[in-house]
Chain length 213, copies 2
């Protein structure tokens, strides 16, 4: 499945929940398309690829659609992640409230300093880095947020891959790349480079000022 | 200029600085292309669009190239930004060291609570939100990082636009959109939705497990 399709499905999923909360029971491809900003044909094609079939009279039952998407997106399974590196950014993410509303739970932090975070402030346990492999295996962790210093990123990425982590949200400026072996295991990496994002905004503004846009 | 081209130019720029620090004086389009992961033809086309001309013997003088890109990217001007909302994420970004190495300076924070950040820990002044317009104008701020609660995002976005801010790095889950008027002023918005990024990693893993990828 293409990344664009995953983003569209995420949108349909959120829209469906909103429609359901408004009391609707049925939805048509063109309504979903309008709300998601795509053509109805795209919606029908996406659902057909996912083997989701509409009703004979046209449209889809919202409850059935949500149940199908729950399964496709894995919303029926626990979505648990760990944070590796509990410094400034990692520490802020440990206390971030936006995850819970999306059904994501941060179950542990890992850091060289397990006292990096005030216990009263931070309800998530922090373990020493030596216990990384143990925690990943014991808690069956699939996804890690990487917020360690630049020079430790590659090494910890390898260790996490070997321990069984397959999804990474990488906040370090290092562009992590799965090795040939890891590619076969479908390692998924999303990079969030905050400084680069900010830099590009400055560039775009400058270029727009020089009428090059 | 297309967003992809800006990303490529950022890459060339970083590679050129690395080559210069290694003592190189000249570079060829195919070297730059290899390092940036694009074809040499793309490099030549990018530079030709930017009116950067190579040497007769082929290749480019690294110093001249850096000077041209400095001007195109606005690196010769101060790159100053403010952080609006100094809570968990905003507070972490105020102390983030990755900006300085990219020549970006966070000059002020704004929050309803100006004591949100321990003065010893945080060397950047925090002003009350009522002074937003004043600070933007006095410091001639073009770029803002938005790390406020969801419900305050739209309102503060409007106020910042009206005060003259034209570039936004938006960490709130609200998808900010420039109004018709603001589009004419070339408002640039980059959204970083951390929960959505993490959610999509879970989806991709689940879909890959179900052999749908």
């Amino acid at each position: 499945m293409h990344g664009d399709m995953i983003i569209r499905i995420t949108k349909y999923y959120r829209i469906l929940h909103k429609l359901k909360s408004l009391g609707l029971e049925r939805v048509f491809a063109n309504n979903l398309g309008d709300a998601a900003g795509v053509n109805a044909t795209v919606v029908r094609k996406d659902f057909s690829l996912l083997k989701i079939i509409g009703q004979k009279r046209g449209g889809y039952e919202i409850d059935n659609l949500i149940a199908s998407l729950d399964k496709i997106l894995g919303k029926d399974k626990p979505q648990e992640a760990i944070i590796v590196g509990c410094g400034r950014i990692g520490g802020a993410l440990m206390r971030y409230r936006g995850f819970a509303s999306d059904g994501i739970k941060i179950v542990a932090g890992l850091d060289i300093n397990t006292h990096v975070c005030d216990e009263q402030e931070c309800p998530i346990p922090i373990y020493p880095l030596e216990q990384l492999e143990e925690i990943v295996k014991k808690k069956n962790i699939q996804v890690a947020i990487l917020t360690v210093p630049e020079q430790e990123a590659s090494d910890l990425f390898r260790r996490l891959c070997e321990a069984g982590v397959r999804g990474f949200l990488n906040f370090t400026p290092i562009g992590l790349k799965a090795s040939k072996d890891e590619e076969d295991k479908h390692i998924i990496i999303h990079n969030v480079n905050i400084a680069l994002e900010l830099e590009q905004i400055f560039y775009e503004l400058n270029i727009s000022d020089n009428h090059m846009l």
